[in-house]
Symmetry: C2
Subunit: 607 residues, 2 copies
């Protein structure tokens, strides 16, 4: 049987077809609906909630737990749990595509010596006295050697040489001739740097002849449909070789779409882009290269490669000039990827005599400690709580999210985009928990005060303390103020999730400090990399114990340091070399094998 699915989104209605028993989430994705499914459709994250009419089956236990009675009563279901057995209608809340993606980082002054270079040459035309072959004529004049796979441009070489009357531009990468262009094109030479995040992909276009940035674009990583976290995506690729190919195509298409936007905004063609540098975590780079990532997900967590990969573009589907050079920044381990290496690069900490700490807080918190002499790293599994997953009213840092929250009595808050709040993002919930700690609404074990113990609190706090679905909760925003037709709460379970997450990061830092044999006081600087690091309020983070209280005044947010590092590698061969040195030098501490980490994790559960 074929059924009709009416998809309502803003003011548009799309009519889709589905077969008996089709999964609603998959049907929506197949019809181009971007929908959050951080757990990859397993019914555990509760983020694919959609208002539906017509579904016959009763809600499952998982749906009851994750959606709560109010949402269920309003017709919300988890799309991943719904089987289509009749004609239905689905109503999509359109909020996902409004993400603000951080695309700026700090910029150091680096010497411009880009990965690709152009050289204008006027050759003597051949005659009977000088019968040197075309390629050798260009090599001799340009003082270059031929690239390994030179045959890819030899096809056009004789035509270009003669059409241009031997006035040509040689394109060099890695000291080798990769192609020639007719006439003098040295004025046009572009490169792109990419930061492939699990959530978002940021792309930067540079004029390599001048070293200047010309355009920035970003997109949500389309692989999100198979899970917000890398493990869900790896599990998807393990199911079949086709899935692995699909996962690669999703990111390739995304990169090509970004390349198209970058080119368009500057008015160039993709063929003028001769180099692309990719940063990202180890799993993202595995997907990009079509490598099996299964061994990343299980102990002992082994990548296929951590090396610097360089590839002629013709050997990939990336739409830069086919003779151009693709470069992947090296990784350190399964959970310390090129993104961390690039962040260390762009922070400059690897050059400092003093010791710095770099932290990139996400589903995994990557932590690097050290300086010029040594670097040590670890990855702490914080879970997705800081990104809003597993938090009842959690959401990403997008419009409508509460992103800051102050202690009582007024409990003032701000909302991204100045809209009515529809949920709370990572920085907001850290603020909220810090506020509740200050107000004594939460004790140091993380427990919300019971009804019997609440009498010492302010009247406002007492009013806001309530139970929801039988769980102790604190109302952040009343129903009347929220954009949800229900209040926005923080529940006891939410607090436990944040406790787990912050304990992992803090214990990771403790472990590196311990293993390196330094004292906390020797850390002269803390770099917070990534979007979350930029939005985080340091005092709140220190209040809940996510960062060391004593070092609050040494914290610097460095934005998308992974993207900045990728751009530095694009613009400078010595920076690319530095990234290799960083990756080689950095010791990796496997926390899952560390008893000290486990001990500190428990200690750090306390606020």
């Amino acid at each position: 049987m074929t059924y009709t699915v009416e998809i309502h989104k803003r003011d548009e209605i799309t009519i889709a077809q589905a077969q008996e028993g089709d999964n609603l989430l998959q049907t929506l994705i197949n019809n181009g609906v971007h929908i959050d499914a951080p757990c990859g459709g397993k019914g555990t994250c509760g983020k694919c909630s959609v208002r539906v009419s017509g579904i016959k089956d009763e809600a499952s236990d998982a749906e009851r737990e994750l959606l709560g009675t109010i949402k269920l009563a309003r017709g919300y279901r988890l799309a991943c749990r719904c089987m289509i057995t009749t004609d239905i209608a689905a109503y999509i809340d359109d909020k996902v595509n409004e993400a603000t993606i951080i695309t700026t980082g700090v910029h150091r002054d680096i010497e411009i010596n880009p990965l690709v270079r152009k050289i204008y040459i006027e050759l003597s035309p051949p005659d009977l006295e000088n019968q040197m072959a075309d390629l050798e004529r260009v090599l001799t004049a340009s003082k270059l050697v031929a690239a390994y796979n030179v045959s890819s441009f030899l096809g056009s070489l004789p035509f270009v040489l003669r059409e241009a009357e031997y006035k040509i531009t040689a394109v060099e990468a890695e000291g080798k001739l990769v192609t020639i262009e007719a006439h003098n094109t040295t004025g046009s030479l572009y490169g792109a740097a990419f930061d492939i995040g699990t959530t978002t992909v940021a792309a930067y276009l540079y004029d390599l002849s001048k070293g200047s940035m010309k355009a920035v674009e970003s997109m949500l990583n389309p692989q999100q449909r198979y899970g917000a976290d890398v493990i869900s995506r790896i599990n998807y690729t393990k199911q079949s070789p086709e899935n692995m190919i699909e996962m690669r195509q999703l990111i390739t298409n995304c990169i090509n779409e970004l390349l198209g936007k970058l080119s368009e905004s500057v008015g160039i063609s993709g063929d003028e882009i001769y180099a692309a540098v990719f940063s990202g975590n180890t799993a993202m780079l595995h997907f990009l290269n079509g490598l099996d990532a299964s061994a990343l997900a299980v102990s002992p967590f082994i990548p296929v490669t951590c090396g610097l990969l360089q590839l002629q573009a013709s050997n990939s589907n990336i739409a830069i000039n086919s003779n151009g050079l693709l470069t992947d920044i090296p990784c350190v381990s399964a959970y310390i990827g090129a993104d961390t290496v690039a962040a260390v690069l762009s922070s400059g900490m690897y050059e400092h005599d003093e010791i710095s700490l770099l932290v990139d807080i996400g589903t995994n918190g990557e932590i690097v400690l050290g300086g010029k002499e040594w670097l040590m790293s670890c990855s702490a599994a914080a879970g997705p709580a800081f990104e809003g997953a597993g938090i009842r009213y959690g959401m990403g840092g997008v419009a409508g999210a509460i992103d800051s929250f102050l202690p009582g009595p007024d409990y003032i808050y701000t909302v991204i985009g100045n809209k009515e709040p529809t949920g709370i993002c990572g920085s907001g919930i850290i603020d909220a928990i810090a506020a509740l700690l200050i107000d004594g609404v939460i004790d140091e074990t993380g427990r919300l005060v019971s009804e019997t113990d609440a009498s010492s609190l302010s009247a406002e706090a007492q009013k806001r303390l309530t139970n929801i679905d039988g769980m102790r909760s604190f109302m952040l925003v009343a129903e009347g103020e929220s954009g949800l037709d229900e209040p926005i709460m923080v529940t006891q379970k939410d607090i436990r999730e944040i406790q787990n997450a912050k304990a992992a990061i803090a214990a990771g830092i403790d472990t590196l400090v311990k293993y390196s044999g330094i004292e906390y006081d020797q850390i002269k600087r803390i770099y917070l990399a990534g979007g979350f690091g930029s939005s985080l309020h340091i005092t709140s983070a220190a209040k809940i114990g996510l960062l060391p209280q004593a070092l609050v005044d040494r914290v610097e947010a460095i934005g998308n340091a992974s993207g900045s590092g990728a751009a530095e590698c694009l613009l400078s061969r010595s920076m690319l070399k530095a990234s290799e040195d960083i990756a080689k030098k950095m010791r990796y501490v496997e926390l899952s094998a560390s008893a000290y980490f486990t001990e500190k994790y428990v200690d750090n559960m306390i606020f």
Copy 2:
């Protein structure tokens, strides 16, 4: 209108379809008939003669001249000149596929150090104490670095490693890891060497682990359908990009067919072949790589490249292991190709203190003079006479060809394959002309004696002197003895063709001797490379002035020296390096720019 073409071949009849106005030669080729068309279908060589019935048009002037009255009367026409305007039948004389192709050369003792090597390694499996990535684990243990385009085998790397429980064989080329295989496969490592001749393609399979030859195969070069000579083929490729692609595909398919035969004869799969080395003239290597060869054919005769080309097999359509290495031996100029470089290599002359001369006689005669200190080369345009083209009864060195002919009175001859003679090949016609010179039937200007001057000759010689189509001729084989229902003759025009051809070679040698400043007596050895060099009778060659009379006792035929050189490069990295050194060291003399050559060419017209 569609017409029927009955194709009779041996005892088979094929019914083909043709459209009004279709060319008969093209129709035959399209229907899988191998037919000689050395001029590429221009109506100038006369070799595509086919007996036809039904053709309406009168024979053209070209056909009258090239076929002669007897063949015309018997219904022979030039297939390339016939337009199909009605149902017809064509009768194919099947002789072309019986070519004997010389696939053996001399073999020197060289150190075996093949281009590709295998190393068996037992790796420690990863654990939490040793989390090195898969690729880096293999590189560390094998002491190799990663190949440039390493991503092509990274896809399978993790699966192979785990399936083989970390007991693997690393495959190395150029000091780099190109792939791994499960378990110990060091016993199986093969390579192929190819000599791509204009006429024939020879292929040799080697067991690289032992350095021993396992199989030899050869085929006619299927590009022959677009001309016997390189110029015709280049002209064909110039007509359209599709033609260029077709020309490449013809040789690629031929190579793959040979690879299939080689593999089959040894019982291995093509994946076990990890290296292929290609020798051939400059044009053949251009076609192989899909390079535009137009500039080879016009002054100042410029190749796209002469360099050593190395390519991962995955970047081509050559059916060896996709991670294997393809290597083209370097060339020197448009008309001194890799075949000559390889021949110089396998002759060993580049290592000798004494001076040697190497000559490879074909449509172009490649000539190399020198030794350890210097090498000088030229290419003399002999034309296709030595290969039978332009000679009335000329044919290649195939079954039925007269290949030796002794002076009178008996005029004894031998025939390849001991069949009734159907024509004469290069060595036969040189013998015949030498015999007629000895007998005084030809004077030193090359003129067959006139009827009035013939009285001093033997009675047998007088009897054989005759006129054919108004041209003075000498009957080599009487009608009754020939396999043609007509006598086999050598005509005055045939003698002029051979005079031109031998004058070009001899003048080329003279020019190199002159330019190098040596005396003929300093040449201690003459190497005759190629099939023609092996079948040639040295005394006859000296008698007609093709080779210097004084050096007859210093001549050595070295067979398919190009193929031997290719095999040496496959088996030894130092031999490949030597081939590069030879190509770099060898000075090329452009004869078309040499007044001395022109002068000597005229001098050498005299027998």
